[in-house]
Amino acid sequence: MGEERQVMIETIDLHKYFKDQHVLKGISVKIYKGEVVAIIGPSGAGKSTFLRCINRLEEPSSGKIYIEGVDITSPRVDMNKIRSEIGFVFQSYNLFPHLTAIENIKLAPVHVRKIPEKEAEQKGLELLKKVGLEDKAHAYPDQLSGGQQQRVAIARALAMQPHMIFFDEPTSALDPEMIREVLDVMQNLAAEGMTMLVVSHELGFIREAATRVLVLADGCVIEEGLPRQLFNNPQHPRTKEFLSKIL
């Protein structure tokens, strides 16, 4: 854990307003290569907004965001290129319903990375195998269960060979028996050293896989620390209150 670790994401005093609602109130964090950072906090704290600002699905109102050293709040930056290097997994999967699983996966590699169709298909099948769905390549999203859809969505994000992946409550729309299969895939990714930013309240997963936990409340990071330390010995009263509700 030396000082020379590469910084993947750095936000400096990040603010976000929706009209006059102040949702993010100056967030400054650094996330290093290979870290798995869990973000927890009450509903409406701004967790989703924070993730979405970092790849500018939402425009940040003020502050600086550096992705691998590049200031992405500068107007000259090629946001499509940056986004193609950040995987994003949504709570509601957001697969493209008119495309099969394999077509979902190879769409971006073919059209953004300009990888030949054959090669993208090959890669896509490998990824499906990795998430345990090699037999579902030609199924449409509405023929898949929620857990299967979410695993296809993860494969779709991985197909771009991203440098980091954001997960926004990837399991909260799933039935309990499907949560495990998605978390397993995520845990494998973490073990491979992928940099991950995970909004989730799956404490089991956080304990096992997360290297750090951020607690977000009212648009501020009120506390951070190692999972075990934070769960067992929370400092901030709001963290205590929140944890007592979900533990």
């Binding site: 699905l57 986004r83 493209f96 769409l107 059209h111 929620g146 779709r156 771009m160």
Partner: protein
């Protein structure tokens, strides 16, 4: 015990048992022999009906009504019989409707021969057509039809391309562009096509822009339909959930790639039914081109009618319009229904399943 009961119930309710299976034979009034013989008897009876022309005595009137009622009872026996196949019912229904028509034709007292001479005088169309023509009226109408189709197809193509572009630019939510598009759409929707066509054909030459009548017609129809079609596409695009855009953008697709690869393919399903009915409407609107002297189907028919001093060409044109438009209208309804049922199966499928 319970399952046995259930099975008995099932057998009673689900197995189709006909009268014949239950009793070994049909009741006499449902047998095909009876139906056929009574039909022949009714036909024979028909020869006793009064002569054509308005009946003179009350007795003759009563006789006709009685005959009609007998026939109605005969058809009714077939129509209300749930175990008769549909084709027999179709024949019975056709027969009873024809009988109505025939009785009306025979006893209404109308001057049918004169009506036929005026409106269904097909000879007019098999002679050579209007002034200086060397081909028959039918051939001229066919020429007109080709021009109608040509105008409709070109207008559909240009209108769709223009409408699609308007809708896509509208989705960019640029305030200046939006203002321009809203004005465009409202203007061309409010503008009667015939006025638009006349302005393009008769007024533009004063600005030194002279277009042929066909080009003017196509232009007016394209501009008009572009307004409607852009609204159709806009509704389609807006029906796609925003999270599809976010998923696409998060993968690094550009705005236009997102539109082309993700939004439009999904919107097409929503758009197809209204788009088809829009094309049907536009095919009808080609008739307006007759106002700027394009020799399309209607104008050809009007010219023939004037030259022959007989409206039969107009009747023929009507029939041709119907032959082409009816199937198209049908297709758009079928598409719409398909769309609806698809929507239903989708929402059914989306409910959580047992793993």
């Amino acid at each position: 015990m319970k399952t046995k009961n259930n099975e008995a119930l099932k057998e009673n309710c689900l197995e189709k048992t006909t009268w014949k299976e239950r009793y070994g034979h049909w009741p006499w009034y449902r047998r095909y022999e009876f139906i056929l013989v009574s039909f022949l008897a009714l036909i024979a009876f028909g020869f006793a009906l009064p002569r054509p022309g308005l009946p003179e005595t009350l007795f003759q009137w009563l006789f006709i009504v009685f005959y009609l009622l007998l026939f109605l009872v005969w058809a009714g026996l077939i129509l209300i019989d749930v175990e008769k196949p549909n084709w027999i019912k179709a024949i019975a229904a056709t027969l009873i409707l024809s009988l109505f028509g025939w009785l009306f034709y025979r006893y209404s007292g109308a001057q049918w021969d004169k009506l036929g001479y005026a409106f269904f005088n097909w000879k007019v169309l098999s002679e050579t057509g209007s002034y200086g023509s060397t081909v028959t009226g039918w051939a001229e109408l066919f020429q007109g039809l080709l021009i109608t189709l040509q105008i409709a197809i070109f207008s559909a193509i240009f209108g769709t391309i223009l409408g699609l572009f308007l809708a896509v630019f509208r989705s960019l939510n640029d305030p200046i562009l939006n203002a321009f598009i809203i004005i465009w759409v409202d203007f061309f929707r409010a503008m009667p096509i015939i006025v638009l066509m006349m302005i393009i054909y008769y007024a533009l030459p004063y600005l030194n822009i002279t277009l042929s009548s066909t080009v003017s017609g196509i232009m007016a129809l394209s501009l008009n339909s572009s307004a409607y079609i852009s609204e159709i596409f806009r509704a389609g695009i807006e029906s796609i959930h925003h999270n599809q855009v976010e998923a696409a953008r998060s993968l690094g697709l550009t705005t236009m790639q997102t539109m082309r690869l993700v939004i439009l393919p999904q919107a097409m399903r929503v758009v197809m039914p209204p788009l088809t009915s829009n094309y049907v409407a536009m095919l009808k609107d080609t008739a307006i081109c007759s106002s700027i002297a394009i020799m399309e189907l209607l104008k050809t028919a009007i010219t023939l009618q004037a030259w022959k001093a007989n409206p039969t060409p107009l009747v023929a044109a009507t029939i041709i319009y119907l032959i082409i438009l009816l199937p198209l209208a049908r297709i758009s309804t079928v598409l719409e229904n398909k769309m609806k049922s698809k929507g239903i199966t989708r929402s059914i499928r989306r409910q959580p399943k047992a793993a």
